[in-house]
């Protein structure tokens, strides 16, 4: 884990209201694995840091993907090149991919695309055929960037690709990785109990001490999204007890 004073080095739009921000964080770029996250803070920001899956890692830079869902993300999107972020990471346990499976299907919904580019590259480097399945409500909300040997788009309104959810559009494969709203991941758990899913929770410290990011487990009890997670075997989570949707609007 590193604490890096990272300058913002790039920004591009990848969907309606959705942006990728790049920052200079060499130690993190060199060590991050797919599914891990960083916790970002900044001067004049809200009290708590904000967690983001690492979307890209190239050379000395990492990338995150975000849209304005609350006060913190709105402030982040007002920042300009050269502004500094306090970047803590890499945090948590990622997908932990190992060689063996012949094929991997990467299923994402909306901002759940965040951990998938790194996952696609790791899976490809381990010899897997990668199928990229990405869904959103409509075509303008689909992330325009993709990876893998085969790409499947899905939209709720049918404006691009498969008309329906990403889960319904996805074929089976040896390995299933998924990220998206917790409601979508609960559906993943029904279809593929062994899928590896990256979940979203409210988070305090990101380092395992505050116990704020409790994840209810099927076997009973809780563990920490920031430490044991954020990636879990789908069937290990007690989906009925995990908040299905996070509300950020009043966060200040």
């Amino acid at each position: 884990m590193f604490l890096v004073d990272a300058a913002i080095t790039g920004r591009r739009q990848v969907a309606r209201d959705t942006f990728v921000i790049a920052m200079h964080a060499p130690e993190i770029a060199a060590t991050v694995r797919a599914g891990q996250f960083v916790n970002l803070g900044w001067a004049s920001g809200p009290l708590l840091r904000r967690p983001f899956s690492v979307y890209g890692a190239e050379g000395e830079h990492i990338e995150i993907v975000l849209k304005a869902v609350g006060v913190g993300t709105a402030q982040l999107l007002l920042m300009t090149l050269g502004d500094r972020l306090s970047c803590l990471g890499p945090l948590g346990h990622g997908f932990g991919l190992l060689a063996g499976p012949q094929s991997a299907v990467l299923v994402s919904g909306g901002l759940g695309v965040a951990p998938m580019p790194l996952a696609a590259r790791e899976a490809a480097s381990l010899g897997m055929r990668v199928i990229w399945v990405h869904g959103a409500r409509s075509s303008d909300e689909l992330c325009s960037e993709s990876e893998g040997n085969q790409v499947i788009w899905a939209t709720d309104d049918g404006s691009r690709g498969f008309a329906g959810t990403a889960v319904a559009a996805a074929p089976d494969a040896d390995l299933v990785l998924a990220c998206g709203p917790n409601r979508m991941l609960a559906a993943v758990a029904v279809r593929w109990p062994d899928a590896l899913v990256a979940i979203e929770t409210y988070m305090g410290c990101g380092t395992g001490v505050c116990l704020g990011c409790a994840v209810p487990l099927e076997r009973g009890g809780y563990d920490r999204a920031c430490k044991e997670g954020p990636v879990y075997r789908a069937a290990d989570i007690d989906w009925a007890s995990l908040p299905p949707h996070l509300s950020y609007a009043v966060t200040a």
């Binding site: 884990m1 409210y202 380092t207 116990l211 704020g212 809780y222 007890s241």
Partner: protein, 304 residues
């Protein structure tokens, strides 16, 4: 010039005045990045005799300059603490206090007796902000007799230092402070979190599953400085100030207001190096003021 930042809390001398607050530092083993050199001491995550699952999510909610938490004292129970953590503490060069919790005065004493003499356990911080199950769930910390009974129960079972962490949710903190001093406390920790609530306007219900939570962070600091000051004026034993300390200036406010030491809590969530920065900032301040030791820091009101 090297400033002497050591402080005496009863018979115990701490190498520095900044401690890690309970529930914000785990068991001291979680964060590798932490600069342990600056720690005057550490208070463990609160422990019960038996394991506790904790409350369902959501457990935390951010508020302006603060956060609400309702973790529910999730923990492995005292036997796991003795087995898994105390042996590590025994090797560290700063004291580790165990924050103890129970549902009856007798059970607090039982917990202290179990931990007394365990290598690595330097003393106790009693969390009296727990419901007294034997008396209809009223909080020990709101009632001077119950607070004193808990303190006495622990005092009788150990010769280690006993600190009592006071709740701010009382009409006169001085009354509680005097009651636990008379019952044998070696020091007071002031204060614990304020009870608060925040509403999710999309769901028309509280943002925390537990409904209410403890409010911490910079939002409570002026309230905490005042209550720590009141507690310090009420007793002769040392008071350790807690509440929203993020920078060294915040810690110095508590020290000038009459506290012997401070604990840093929520700030560690945001900045894993917060304690070291507060510690170093106190030294820088004292040097800039031409003071050679923390003992020379002027207090308010001035001491005789």
């Amino acid at each position: 010039m090297t400033c002497d930042l050591s402080v005496a809390i009863g018979a115990l001398t701490l190498r520095g005045p900044v401690l890690a607050a309970s529930g914000t530092f785990g068991y001291g083993t979680e964060v590798s990045l932490l600069e342990r050199r600056a720690l005057g001491g550490m208070v463990s995550k609160g422990i019960f005799l038996r394991p506790r699952e904790g409350t369902p999510p959501p457990r935390i909610a951010e508020t302006p300059s603060g956060m609400l938490n309702a973790i529910g004292l999730q923990g492995p129970g005292v036997e796991a603490l003795i087995r898994d953590y105390a042996p590590k503490w025994a090797e560290w060069d700063f004291p580790v206090f165990v924050n103890i919790n129970a549902e009856s005065a007798a059970e607090y004493g039982e917990l202290a007796a179990r931990l007394d003499g365990v290598p690595g356990v330097a003393g106790f911080e009693i969390n009296i902000s727990c419901p007294n199950v034997e008396q209809g769930g009223l909080y020990f910390g709101n009632d001077p007799r119950a607070a004193a009974a808990v303190t006495e129960s622990v005092r009788k079972r150990t010769r280690l230092p006993v600190w009592v962490k006071l709740t701010p949710m009382v009409s006169d903190i001085g009354v509680i402070a005097r009651a636990v001093e008379a019952a044998g406390a070696d020091a007071l920790c002031a204060i614990n979190t304020f009870v608060g609530m925040s509403i999710d306007l999309n769901a028309y219900k509280p943002r925390l599953s537990f409904r209410t939570g403890g409010l911490s962070g910079p939002a409570i600091r002026p309230l905490a400085v005042h209550l720590a000051h009141q507690a310090a004026r009420a007793v002769r034993i040392p008071v350790i100030g807690i509440g929203g300390i993020t920078r060294s200036e915040d810690a110095l406010e508590f020290l000038v207001a009459g506290c012997a030491a401070v604990q840093v809590g929520t700030a560690t969530f945001v900045n894993p190096c917060a304690i070291a920065e507060v510690h170093d900032g106190i030294a820088t301040f004292l040097e800039a003021k031409g003071l050679s030791s923390l003992a020379d820091l002027p207090r308010y009101p001035p001491r005789d």
